[in-house]
């Protein structure tokens, strides 16, 4: 739920990294923190972790300022992937403007991916997000590992959905920025329709993409 603060001339955009446990959601944010060049970037804030498992969420704030001095603040959240933390996942997902679904490419994880994706769909409904129009990008992570689903079979399965797909290896920094760019693009298109960014606030797609380091 993007919120434009008139007095501060600030637009806040919430993007949530969703997906099964240990699929690399936090790694995506760590990597983005290093890769993003375009504007201001805050520190990665991790709340309540246990070992390498996120219990609450991670938060990475990124910001750009447009020529007419409107600041756009992107708040990137991760959810805890473990099944037991569904209430937390639901609360974090609430009011999201865009979602990145980070799937684990390993063959052994395909069931977990499916369950988590179904969980995303259910939680969207529960927090009042329209799953059909929600800006969504699916990232197949861990392409660097062996025994992974082939790109062909993934494309065959996901192609018909029309959801943009990115293959990534977050640990190696591959595909992370592309994923982020894809979701930011979709967020802009969606917010342009719902809020009229260009007309009402003079915010262009270029301003949005600058956050992902693309001029």
């Amino acid at each position: 739920m993007a919120d434009f603060n008139e007095s501060w001339k600030k637009l806040t955009v919430k993007i949530v990294y969703y997906g099964p446990a240990l699929s690399g959601k936090t790694t995506n944010l760590i990597c983005l923190h290093d890769l993003v060049q375009g504007g201001g970037r805050g520190d990665l804030m991790s709340l309540e972790t246990k070992g390498d498992r996120t219990l609450y969420f991670d938060l990475l704030p990124l910001a750009v300022t447009t020529e007419n001095r409107v600041s756009i603040l992107f708040k990137l959240f991760t959810v805890p992937g473990q099944v037991a933390h569904d209430a937390t996942r639901k609360a974090v997902l609430s009011r999201a403007d865009g979602v990145v679904f980070v799937a684990d490419s390993q063959v052994s994880q395909s069931l977990n991916n499916a369950e988590s994706f179904e969980n995303l769909e259910n939680n969207c409904r529960r927090v009042g997000l329209d799953f059909d129009t929600l800006p969504l990008v699916v990232q197949f992570n861990k392409r660097d590992l062996g025994s992974i689903e082939s790109e062909e079979s993934i494309l065959e399965l996901w192609g018909p959905t029309g959801i943009p797909l990115v293959f990534a290896s977050a640990l190696q920094g591959k595909g992370v920025l592309e994923t982020f760019r894809a979701v930011v693009e979709r967020c802009f298109q969606h917010l342009e329709v719902t809020l009229g960014l260009e007309k009402n606030y003079g915010i262009s797609e270029k301003d949005f993409l600058r956050i992902a380091g693309i001029e």
Binding site: S71, A87, A91, V127, G128
Partner: protein, 473 residues
């Protein structure tokens, strides 16, 4: 981050957010750093040569100030995007930034007595700025996590409440189900009981039906000689009539002869002829035989009467109330009914000890005695002995029925009182005879015992309390 006029984003109406603020909303400045923090900060900074500490929000209003600022200090119009600035020789302004946003300026005024170099002033002010920034970040984290936590707790609570309601619903459903099941079981039990009672009654009728042939024979016997006697009496009647006619004829002729108007057609009455004819009728014998015949017939009628009344006692359906009765009388009346079954195959021995009257349902005891006797008879192949006896045991009386029939096998013994258990061929026995005995004895609060040996015979011992408190039928 917002200033003194917090404005929260409108929320979409998600199912779980009723009245709950999202944890990741913009927090007000007051929420992130309390005024008291600057109070204590200022207390400590005084020792470092700092005379004044103020926080000015972006709107221009003072959030905190230790002393009103001196007039010559002027704040820049637009503070956004500015870094640390020196306002005058003794005053430095540090931007307070949170999430890329300068939300306030902290103004630090240094003592004009203890002169400090500008570099030192800036370093000190920056240090304080970093401290405040860390404080805000850490408070922000706490706000985020406690906000999220409370949202999760509420959500989880709602979920549990929903589940509890569902559980309660299903528990109620199962309770109702259990109740109706119980009712159904009671209903079915009653049905089975009714069916059993019906079958019991059928069994009783069947045994009576079986006995009817014997009873008919018992009635037929006296009936035979009663009718034969009646026929004889009818003949006697004719003979007596003849004798009367003879006598009155003779008297008439004697009268005529004396009146001197002799009948020409008739001869003189001859006494010897008359006596000869009278003798032919053998009236002496007839008159002697009549009382005997009548006595016999009355006796026969009495026997029929007894059998009929015994049978009535036996077969009478419906309610019977408990009364005191003589067990021996019950035995005798039952024996008269089943006598036809016994007399050809068995030698019956009665060994009655004197016993007191007992409280019982006599007709039901008749049934017990009959069933035991019938079992005994059926256990005897050709010729055997049956002994029926009574004993006084003080509070109880004992009825024994002993036979020297084929006996009951050990493996069958524990089951003989079970309903529908029978060793007889299909159609011959219902398997309810001994069960009925068992039920009646139990109803009389008595006990039944059996001793049996293959080839030697069986004895049933029925013990009945003398003064039983019997349930109403």
């Amino acid at each position: 981050m917002e200033n003194d006029n917090p404005k929260h984003a409108e929320r979409e109406a998600g199912e779980d957010l009723t009245g709950e603020e999202p944890f990741d909303r913009d927090y007000t400045y007051q929420e992130l750093i309390p005024v008291t923090f600057f109070h204590s900060l200022y207390d400590q900074l005084q020792g470092l040569g700092i005379k004044n500490l103020s926080v000015v929000l972006r709107s221009g209003s003072f959030y905190y100030t230790s002393h009103p600022l001196e007039k010559n200090v002027r704040l820049p119009e637009d503070m956004a995007g500015m870094s640390i600035i020196t306002l005058d020789k003794w005053t430095v302004a540090v931007p307070l930034i949170h999430e890329f946003e300068t939300h306030a300026f902290m103004i630090v005024g240094f003592s004009q007595i203890e002169v400090m170099s500008v570099e030192r002033q800036i370093s000190l002010a920056r240090l304080i700025g970093v401290m405040v920034g860390q404080m805000v970040t850490s408070n922000y984290k706490t706000r985020l996590s406690s906000g999220l936590h409370s949202q999760v707790v509420k959500d989880t609570y709602q979920e549990i409440k929903k589940k509890t309601e569902l559980l309660e619903k299903s528990e109620k459903k199962y309770r109702l189900l259990a109740e109706s099941l119980e009712k159904e079981v009671l209903r079915k039990t009653q049905e089975v009981k009714d069916a059993q009672a019906y079958v019991m009654h059928q069994e009783k009728l069947a045994s009576i039906g079986h006995l009817a042939a014997g009873v008919a024979h018992e009635i037929n016997n006296p009936m035979g000689f009663i009718s034969s006697n009646l026929r004889t009496l009818k003949d006697y009647c004719q003979d007596i009539r003849k004798a009367y006619d003879l006598v009155s004829g003779f008297i008439e002729s004697v009268k005529n002869a004396k009146s001197d108007k002799p009948d020409k057609t008739m001869g003189k009455p001859v006494l010897s002829d008359f006596l000869a004819e009278l003798k032919d009728l053998d009236l002496d014998y007839i008159l002697n035989d009549i009382p005997q015949l009548l006595e016999e017939s009355l006796d026969g009628a009495e026997r029929i009467n007894k059998i009929v009344s015994d049978l009535k006692d036996f077969a009478h359906p419906g309610e019977e109330s408990a009364c005191t009765a003589d067990l021996v009388q019950c035995i005798e009346s039952t024996l008269s009914i089943v006598w036809n079954e016994l007399k050809y195959k068995t030698t019956l021995t009665r060994s009655y000890q004197p016993i007191p009257m007992i409280t019982c349902y006599p007709r039901q005891l008749n049934q017990v005695i009959m069933n035991l006797l019938m079992n005994s008879v059926q256990s005897i192949e050709k010729k055997g002995e049956i002994e029926i006896g009574t004993r006084d045991l003080g509070d109880e009386v004992e009825l024994t029925v002993r036979d020297n029939g084929h006996g009951i096998p050990m493996e069958v013994l524990p089951r003989i009182f079970d309903p529908f258990f029978t060793t007889k061929d299909v159609g011959k026995g219902t398997g309810l005879g001994l069960n009925l005995v068992y039920n009646i004895v139990r109803k009389h609060k008595g006990t039944i015992e059996v001793k049996s040996e293959i080839g030697k015979g069986t004895t049933f011992f029925v013990r009945l309390p003398v003064n039983a408190q019997l349930d109403k039928e």
